[in-house]
Amino acid sequence: MKDKIAVADRLIICNINNNMARKTTLLVLLLLTFLLQSAAADSGERTRRPVLGIGAKGAVAVADDPLGGSPEFFTPKAQAVGALTALLDIPLFSPLYLGIGFQLHGTTISSLEGGWVYKSHWGGGFRLSAGYGFLLSEPSRPLQLTLGANAGGSFNVDLYTFTTLFFFYPGIFLEPYLELNHSRRKNSSIALVLPIDYYFRRDLEFYGSIGIGAVWRYTLQ
């Protein structure tokens, strides 16, 4: 297993070039390789029971280049994002699990610089993901750290603030997390997440966000 991964590493390194998209792919592959190597080194595995969770996150979204607008005038601007999430993780075949979530989110207006803003909007989204986590610490220790990541898609409907206009936009996300669990409270844990979202907006050339959040998880018996 490790030999195969080492070969894969060499192949990956040989393919490095200046293309941004390839660099992103490379980073993702390296992350996955790291996860697989770590998993191979540590036989610990996340619990195989369904998990309920609720979480909150803060993020910074960047919007750029509205469709049909002047790209020189409508430059990229940042918006603050807040979100509350409820989720259910269902174990699939080892070591993967399926995540089903619902998110309520809100986005503030951007800066008023230049006399214009990217609009504030808020709404809800259905999130479907696949995830994988593994124990960093020995299972015998009372304090256990789990490292993992969820990756999936989101389907969102938002309302522009101060209007009656709803709009739909899908997205993809990657959520690396670090989960902390104590043996005295086997069923519950806290996870620190670093969500990265990219949205397929038809009226914006780019719309994505990166943030930080916390999730409280409860393992069903």
């Binding site: 509205p66 207006i109 006399g115 206009l165």
Partner: protein, 326 residues
């Protein structure tokens, strides 16, 4: 070993807090940034038309539309706009400046000789009759019809009606070199001028007959629009100009003795419409101020008699500062 556990236990929440803190500070900074005062150093230019005297051309006169134009003129001048005002009225002596030839000439002047550039803000305001013409360009928004909407002017000789369709108006607006353009129409059926190809409106084009759309119908429409989106269609899409329209595509608008109902609340919105208290009134804020007040003070009163309408607004991801709040 137990000491290590205690260390881990006590430091982990601090680490989480330490990681969350920068995000909270960043979010707070953004919120502060959004509420800062900005130097909005650009030119503001407006073309304002009001037509009340239609009878020589065989149409019903309107009572407040010339006053609408003059009041909007005063407001925009107080907001630092350079304004071209045209009215057609018989209040004192017949004046006919708001005719089709002048409209084309005023847009041509703004496009070529007014020294406007992409950084400037442009507004076209019209108060008068609006109508629907059959057939027009088809639109993909659920609930809309395929008729063209038009603003109604009187020709220079005052003896005939001139229809300016939404597509013709879009072509005029397209000549203006500003990146931010706003069209405000206090006229019947004016919602049909808006081309929202990605946004589903909870207020349908014929609100007076159908009432509001249900939530699930609206959400379904939003998904339908996303799935079928090719490009912005005809009329005036948000990429061309943000439109505030007095009524839906199949609804009429109303006026009072002093002003058109929509214009009355638009005038108020300049001083009371800063809904998020950041010192500026955006197009969305002005729209929502009008929407809320028409709902509370017109529809609630006259609704039982069948007189109801709602304003409509353009979608799109960007919004423009319309007024500086006093």
């Amino acid at each position: 070993m137990s000491m290590m556990h205690r260390l881990v236990r006590s430091s982990t929440p601090r680490r989480i807090a330490g990681a969350l803190l920068p995000a909270l500070i960043l979010a707070a900074s953004l919120a502060l940034l959004a509420s800062c005062t900005f130097d909005l150093d650009y030119d503001k230019y407006a073309i304002v038309y009001g037509v009340s005297d239609y009878s020589p051309a065989g149409y019903t006169d309107l009572s407040s539309t010339d006053d609408d134009a003059m009041d909007i003129n005063d407001l925009l001048i107080s907001q630092g706009f350079q304004v071209v005002l045209r009215v057609t009225t018989e209040d004192v002596t017949p004046i006919n400046e708001a005719h089709d030839t002048n409209l084309i000439g005023d847009f041509n002047y703004a496009a070529t000789s007014a020294n406007l550039d992409k950084d400037d803000l442009f507004i076209f305001y019209f108060s008068g009759h609006g109508t629907q013409l059959d057939p027009g360009s088809s639109e993909q928004t659920p609930g809309t019809d395929d008729m063209d909407e038009a603003i109604v002017l009187v020709n220079q000789a005052l003896d005939d009606i001139v229809y300016f369709t939404d597509d013709e108006l879009a072509n005029l607006v397209r000549t203006i070199p500003c990146a931010r353009k706003v069209v405000i129409l206090d006229a019947c059926y004016s919602g049909g001028v808006i081309s929202n190809s990605l946004e589903a409106d909870a207020i349908p084009p014929n609100y007076s007959e159908d009432g509001s759309n249900g939530l699930f119908e609206t959400l379904g429409n939003a998904i339908y629009l996303y799935s079928n989106f090719q490009d912005y269609g005809s009329d005036i899409p948000p990429s061309l100009a943000l439109v505030i329209a007095a009524s839906g595509e199949q609804d009429v608008a109303y006026e009072t003795d002093g002003n058109g109902v929509m214009t009355f609340y638009l005038l108020e919105s300049a001083s009371n419409g800063d809904l998020n208290r950041d010192g500026y009134v955006t197009v969305s804020e002005a729209y929502f101020y009008i929407y809320r007040n028409i709902d509370e003070h017109f529809n609630m009163v006259y609704g039982p008699s069948g007189y109801v309408f709602f304003p409509h607004v353009s979608g799109g991801p960007v919004d423009y500062v319309l007024f500086i709040s006093p």
